[in-house]
């Protein structure tokens, strides 16, 4: 699977890229929303992971633009964020994401979760 990860925190970006690669996926990282969108549009990805609280373009704005782009509309978009209060979860659930993973993420199950969101169980 080719996965794009967008997170402004370099350590957390490092962790996600490391885990995805360790499980045999092709992972690309971006440190901000704008670069992330450009990369998503240029590349051929199977899933995109995005942090929510980021400077200049946050995850909500990212999701709006992402869904507005015809080429990206059907691509699985997953929020991976340390926003974990119930009100955050509700807002994220209604903001156009296909999945939500709270940080701290669970390293043993993280990649399987991403695979589940990216390839919803077929008929």
């Amino acid at each position: 699977m080719r996965v794009l990860v967008v997170d402004d925190n370099s350590t957390n970006l490092d962790l996600m890229l490391y885990l995805l690669r360790a499980f045999g996926h092709d992972a690309t990282g971006c440190a901000d929303g704008a670069t992330g969108l450009e990369t998503a549009l240029r590349g051929d990805f199977d899933a995109v992971l995005v942090d929510i609280l980021m400077p200049t373009m946050d995850g909500y704005e990212f999701a709006r633009r992402f869904r507005a782009a015809p080429a990206l509309r059907a691509l699985p978009l997953i929020a991976v964020t340390a926003l974990a209060m119930p009100s955050d979860r509700e807002r994220i659930a209604s903001a156009g994401f296909d999945g939500y993973i709270a940080k701290p993420l669970e390293p043993r199950t993280f990649v399987a979760q991403i695979e589940g969101f990216a390839r919803p169980a077929g008929p």
């Binding site: 925190n9 350590t11 957390n12 962790l15 490391y18 885990l19 360790a22 609280l53 340390a82 926003l83 974990a84 209060m85 119930p86 009100s87 955050d88 709270a102 940080k103 701290p104 993420l105 669970e106 390293p107 043993r108």
Partner: protein, 390 residues
């Protein structure tokens, strides 16, 4: 704006056997010494009688007022409408407050004005019908109201700031924990390479300490939300059986790992309570988690039974274990914050020390109670009693 209907007519005022002059004499001290200014006005709007409080409130001697149009006491900007309102009242005279919803003001002799509340009442005398106006100075109350509004706004701002702080705190603490738990995990999964046994042992300590810290953060934020009244509750019909099954499902592995039997008793699909699902789930999860944690052999059971508490129908969820138990003198300390009973056992039974405290707070939120009973050495039983209706 609330209106105060004041003392009403002095005794005998509405008996047409009296004349205005008789009213004016000291035969009716209640009128003269009433705490409100009382002004009697005739059908042409002329003041015929005032009491002592009128002199104090408006700064006139009564001789200066009697014979004057009542508008002398009304600020200039509302005099014209006052004349029209007076005519309206004359067409339908009854006891009522004046100008409901309006900010009324009185005008003193020195030209200053002050906020008032006024009650009107027709007064029958042998000389004819008059209108009595009872006027109350509400300057102080208005000032209190303004101050109260300011204080409320201030509290709301502080409360919003606190919410914002809690949300940021949760996010900021979780971000570095993500790296700690994440990379400890990758090392323990031996993704970068194999571990020596001692390296594994030490990394497992890092991992469980980080998990402990995460649990503390979650509990503290939960408590902060409950204490600031910000815990969002959704009261809806909740099948008790579903909650019990979900908890048993979530903790089954943990019980099995300790070779404990985890049983549910009396679970049906009919028992439904109007409650907050998340809070109820959190309480039961916490109680069962504790039961498993403090039991080394035997069983943990979750029993559901219908009860009546007073005249209300309720449901009791009992969590019983065959564990180490609690000393009688410790039972009362159980629900306090950071009270793990046996200090020597904290290493063995990792916990935040906030679990039961949080449970009791959550229970109060949903109108439930928690009780504990125990025999040292042979087990404990925690019961949550919950009303079926709100």
């Amino acid at each position: 704006m609330g209106w105060h209907v004041p003392c009403g007519e002095p005794p005998g005022v509405d008996q047409p056997s009296l004349t205005l002059d008789e009213l004016a004499t000291s035969r009716f001290p209640l009128l003269e010494y009433a705490p409100d200014a009382i002004v009697l006005v005739d059908d042409r709007g002329v003041i015929r009688l005032v009491n002592a409080q009128t002199e104090r409130l408006f700064g006139y001697y009564r001789e200066e007022l009697v014979g004057q149009p009542v508008e002398i006491l009304v600020p200039h900007d509302t005099r014209a409408s006052h004349v029209a309102d007076r005519a309206d009242y004359a067409s339908d005279p009854r006891v009522r407050p004046m100008g409901v919803g309006l900010d009324l003001h009185g005008l003193r002799k020195d030209g200053t004005s002050f906020p008032v509340e006024i009650s009107l009442s027709p007064v029958e005398t042998r000389d004819g019908t008059y209108v009595a106006a009872a006027i109350r100075d509400v300057t102080e109350r208005k000032a209190f109201e303004v101050r109260l509004r300011e204080l409320n706004a201030e509290l709301e701002r502080a409360s919003r700031a606190k919410d914002q702080f809690l949300a940021s705190m949760s996010h900021e603490l979780r971000t570095p924990l993500n790296a700690i738990i994440g990379f400890t995990g990758t090392l323990l999964m031996e993704l970068p390479g194999p571990l020596a046994p001692e390296q594994r042992r030490q990394l497992e300590i890092v991992q469980s300490s980080a998990q402990h810290l995460l649990a503390l953060i979650t509990d503290i934020l939960d408590l902060a939300k409950i204490e600031s009244g910000k815990r969002e509750l959704t009261f809806e019909p909740v099948r008790i059986g579903e909650v019990v099954a979900a908890v048993a499902g979530a903790l089954g592995t943990m019980a099995a790992a300790k070779r404990l039997t985890l049983r549910t008793v009396g679970v049906d699909s009919e028992t439904v309570a109007i409650t907050d699902r998340r809070a109820l789930h959190q309480i039961v999860l916490n109680l069962v988690n504790n039961a498993i944690k403090y039991t080394d052999a035997g069983s943990v059971s979750i029993a559901v039974e219908r009860v009546a508490t007073g005249d209300r129908a309720g449901v009791r969820i009992g969590v019983a274990d065959t564990g180490i138990g609690i000393k009688a003198e410790d039972l009362s300390r159980l629900f306090r914050a950071f009270e793990q009973l046996d200090p020597s056992s904290t290493r063995r039974h990792e916990g935040t020390g906030l679990g039961l405290y949080l449970c009791r707070n959550l229970a109060t939120l949903i109108g439930a109670t928690i009780e504990a009973s125990s025999t040292l050495g042979s087990g404990s039983r925690f019961t949550l009693t919950l009303p079926l209706e709100r």
